[in-house]
Structures are given as C-alpha cells and as structure tokens.
C-alpha cells in the first residue's frame, strides 16, 4: 500500500511544473526511503515460529508487570485446585496470595528479588526462603542457552484465547527423548507472558494446569507491593536467602569434605551447577541436574551434622525420606535426592556415586 502511495506522490509532483523541482526531490527521497524501509524491515522481521515465541517468552520474564487471578490444578495423585492472586513485576518482585483451598487460604508469598517471605495465617512466624526470582533470573539465561545448544525441541502448535487474550500455543520438550515430560504454554501474542501452562507426562496425560482467568498489564507495580509487613505478633524468621548456583569446582573450595558425583544420570539430564548452604555446624553441598524440563537436586553432607537416629536408619541404598525424597549413606556422607525421579533411576544414581 505504501508502495502505491509513493508512486502517486511522485506522479503528482511531476505534474506541478519545473519550478517545483526543488520540492519534488525531498519527497521522492522520502518515498524511496520508506519503500526501502518496508522491504528491508519485512525481510528482517522474525517469522512467528516456536523458537521466536520461546525467546520472547523468556525475555518477558524480566519485563512484564501485571496483576492476575490464577487457577492451578493438580490432576495426578489427589486432585487439587488452588486459586491465587498474582502480582508480578519482572524480576523486581512477585507476590502470591492464596484464596483457596481452605488449607492454603490466606497464605502469602512475597519475593522482592533478594528474598522470599512465606506467611501462613495463624503461624506466629513468617519464614524467609531463598528468592525464586533471583534464581529465575539465572535460570532464564540457562534456559535460553539450553535452547540455543539444542537441548530442547520447541514447536508452535496453534493459537488460542486465554483470559480473553489471543495466544500462541507452544510445546517444549527435551530433545532426543522419546517418552519425556513436556510442557505446553499459551503465550500472550502481545505481551509474551505465558498465560497458561500444562505439564504433560511421558504417557501424554496432563499432570497439572495453571492459567490466568483475568490479567491486567501495567507499566510498573509499586515496590511496597513486594514488601511484607508482618501482622502484629508475627515475627520474621530469617534463614539463608539467596543461594547462587556456581560451578562445582568453586564449591569444592568451600567445603572440607570430598564431594561425590554420580557417573550415571537419567537420559537427557546434565549437571547445571552446584551450591553450598550452611546447615548447623557444617555445610550441605547441592548438585543441580536438569533436562530442561524436569530437575532434581542431590544433597550431600557429612553424617556428623545430622541426627544420629536418622543416620542409623540409612543404608547404602536409597530409602524414602518424604514424597520424592530419597536418602542413603556412602561412607560417612549422607546423600539425599529430591525430585520427580522414579525409584529405579534413583537406585542407579545412588550406585554410581563416586
């Protein structure tokens, strides 16, 4: 269309006579420039495909600001649905306020990028936990790298509407795995925020769903929104806030015991970093593993730091210490694996630890 308009302008100017030659030249140049801009711009514009949507989705983690009402449903194990109000401002802050179910109603999690405070109604203590946003910032870069290095398969499968907003539907899974857990995202086609997420098991069943029913985008949210004022009588219990993931070599220098590593990992997983956290009179070393979608953590610490009764219970092979938590002993070290890894894989990991 601009094309046609340019020719008309040039044509009309030509009719005005010789005196108008001086005026005709700038208009001609402008039109030509406009034409070039459109042609080159069109050539350079990203096609909307899976990788583009994923890149924009990752970039939006750090920039988008909104208030939303979210519904989350777990469909595996006991089915459960929660509703919460979410306030988010990129990596600056996030606040989640649970509305339901009754067990969670009134709970608040406030993350200001440095620490996260978890308040449970009726508890006289609000606990400080590691900031998820701080870790999210690191892991967003890691996810982008994983994608660039070909660890993930990304496919745009269609369009849909969520919370009355148009979205692109994206499926992401670890590359090279036939049966693997996948994620499906409905990404806002204007703001690039994921409005709905589905976690799909290797057999194709939906394990969990989260989606926004309403969302309001803003330029910015006030910083006070991400500060927690404890109600009267409630204290804030501080603990380790930020834990930075770093190369394993750096962590070795921080602890006195020899860190063990598994030589066997489930298909697609690799070590993406380590950290050391203070615990009682010692330290716990954490090795982090991920296939891009799923992740597990391997904790190890000398037995003297832990309770004798607990240690006496442990054997050379993994035994459950909680849901998706297995512990075992290797020499005088205690090892604990946390993550959605089947027991037979945990056993192989445990056997391979050196």
């Amino acid at each position: 269309m601009t094309h046609r308009l340019g020719f008309v302008l040039v044509g009309r100017r030509a009719e005005c006579g010789q005196d108008k030659k001086m005026i005709r030249r700038p208009w001609t140049s402008f039109t030509l420039f406009l034409l070039l801009f459109v042609i080159i711009g069109g050539a350079l514009a990203e096609p909307i495909d899976g990788p583009t949507v994923l890149r924009r989705m990752l970039a939006a983690e750090g920039t988008a600001a909104f208030i939303a009402h979210q519904v989350t449903t777990l469909t595996r194990g006991p089915a459960l649905t929660s509703e919460q109000t979410v306030y988010r401002d990129g990596f600056r802050g996030m606040r989640t306020e649970y509305i339901s179910p009754p067990q969670l109603a009134g709970e608040i999690m406030v993350d200001n990028g440095k620490e996260m405070i978890h308040f449970v109604p009726g508890h006289k203590v609000a606990r400080v936990r590691p900031s998820r946003l701080f870790a999210l910032k690191q892991r967003t870069q890691e996810a982008a790298r994983a994608f660039l290095h070909g660890a993930l398969d990304v496919e745009l499968v269609g369009k849909d509407k969520i919370a009355d907003r148009p979205t692109f539907v994206l499926v992401v899974k670890p590359r090279g795995k036939e049966k693997a857990q996948t994620r499906k995202f409905w990404v806002d086609s204007e703001k690039w925020i994921k409005l709905k997420t589905e976690d799909i098991g290797p057999d194709g069943t939906v394990l969990s769903t989260s989606y926004y029913t309403k969302i309001e985008f803003l330029d910015k949210l006030p910083q006070e929104k991400f500060q927690f004022e404890p109600p009267p009588g409630v204290k804030i219990e501080r603990g380790p806030a930020r834990t930075q993931v770093m190369p394993l070599e750096k962590v070795r220098q921080l602890v006195k015991f020899r860190i063990l590593e598994p030589t066997y990992l489930p298909n697609g997983f690799k070590c993406i970093g380590a950290t050391a956290i203070p615990f009682r009179q010692g330290k716990i070393v954490v090795l982090r593993y991920s296939d891009g979608i799923l992740s597990f953590s391997l904790f190890q610490t000398p037995g003297r730091v832990l309770d004798r009764g607990f240690l006496q219970r442990l054997r050379e092979g993994p035994s459950p210490s909680g849901k998706n938590i297995y512990s075992w002993r290797r020499g005088d070290l205690n090892l604990t694996l946390v993550g959605p890894i089947p027991l037979h894989e945990v056993q192989k990991i445990a056997e391979s630890v050196r």
Binding site: L104, P130, T243, R288, D307, G322
Partner: protein, 174 residues
C-alpha cells in the same frame, strides 16, 4: 444507661437473651448514641461473618482410622495391665512363702533389670522408626532448596510446584 453499661450488655442484647426493662434501656441508648449504634451493627456483622464460614468436611475414612487407633490403644493398655498384674501377683506370692522371702531381693532385682532392658529395647526400636525434629529440619531444608531451584525454571509451572510442595509438607506431617 451510658456507653460503658451498654458494652456490658451488648453480647446479651445481640444474642437476644435480655428482655423487659433492660432491653428497652439498651434500645433507647442505641437510638440516641450513634457510636454505640455503629458498634452494635459492627459486632453483629462480625458475628454473621463468622457464622457464614462453610463447614469443613471430615476426611473420608475418618471413622475407620479412628477405630484402628482405638483398638491399638486398647491393646497397649491391656498389655500393660497384664504385665503390671503379673508383677504384683509374683511379688505377693514371694512375700507369703518363707522360702520366697529369701529370694525376694534377687527376684526384684531381676525383674527391674528385665524391665530396664525391655524399656531400652523399646525406645531404641521406636526411635529408629521415628523421624524426629532434627530429621524434619534437614529434610525441609532439602525440599525448600530443591523447590526454589525447580520453580525457578522459566519453563516450569511454578504455581503447580508450589502447590505440590505445600501438599507434600502437609501429608508428610501426617
């Protein structure tokens, strides 16, 4: 009647448990005192807010679990009752017989030693099956650390992970 008096009778008034002259006096005061009238309205409203709370269903299988617990409790009580009765019976028979008196002290010493060994074994066995407070602290640290890491994946469903984590904590505590 002044505002201080009204406060004393407010609950009864709102609950409808006063009548006659006292009720009239309260109503008259509320008619002229806006502050107390507002207070009465607010207190009535807080009560109605509390009353509108939905009942919480008792989890399925509660009665079955309760009866198992009662049976276990009764068994433990019966065992203890039997043991203590036996000890008393032995003690009484030893005291009565002349021969028994000579071996009374060694017999009591033997009984006490058995009780000590049995009690220690019981505590040892039960402590090995128990996850005590310090275990929980360690496991909680591991769980929280992992959750922070897992939920920080931009390709994860953080809210689903958070929900699973809270439910796991609650079911582990059961």
């Amino acid at each position: 009647m002044d505002c201080k008096d009204i406060k004393e009778h407010m609950i009864d008034y709102l609950g409808g448990t006063i009548a006659g002259e006292l009720r009239c006096a309260v109503e008259e005061h509320l008619r002229v005192c806006e502050k107390c009238r507002l207070l009465a309205k607010d207190l009535e409203r807080t009560a109605s807010l509390v009353r509108m709370l939905d009942p919480v269903p008792v989890p399925a299988g509660f009665e079955k679990r309760l009866s198992q617990r009662i049976v276990a409790h009764q068994s433990a009580s019966s065992l203890w009752h039997s043991i203590s009765s036996a000890i008393i019976a032995i003690g009484q028979s030893l005291l009565v017989k002349p021969v028994g008196r000579r071996i009374l002290r060694p017999a009591i010493a033997m009984l006490l030693l058995c009780a000590l060994i049995g009690g220690s074994l019981f505590l040892l066995l039960s402590s090995n099956n128990r996850v005590d407070a310090t275990d929980r602290a360690f496991i909680e640290v591991c769980r929280e650390q992992h959750m922070s890491f897992a939920a920080a994946n931009p390709l994860a469903d953080e809210s689903a992970l958070l929900l699973k984590e809270r439910m796991s904590q609650m079911s582990d505590n059961l």
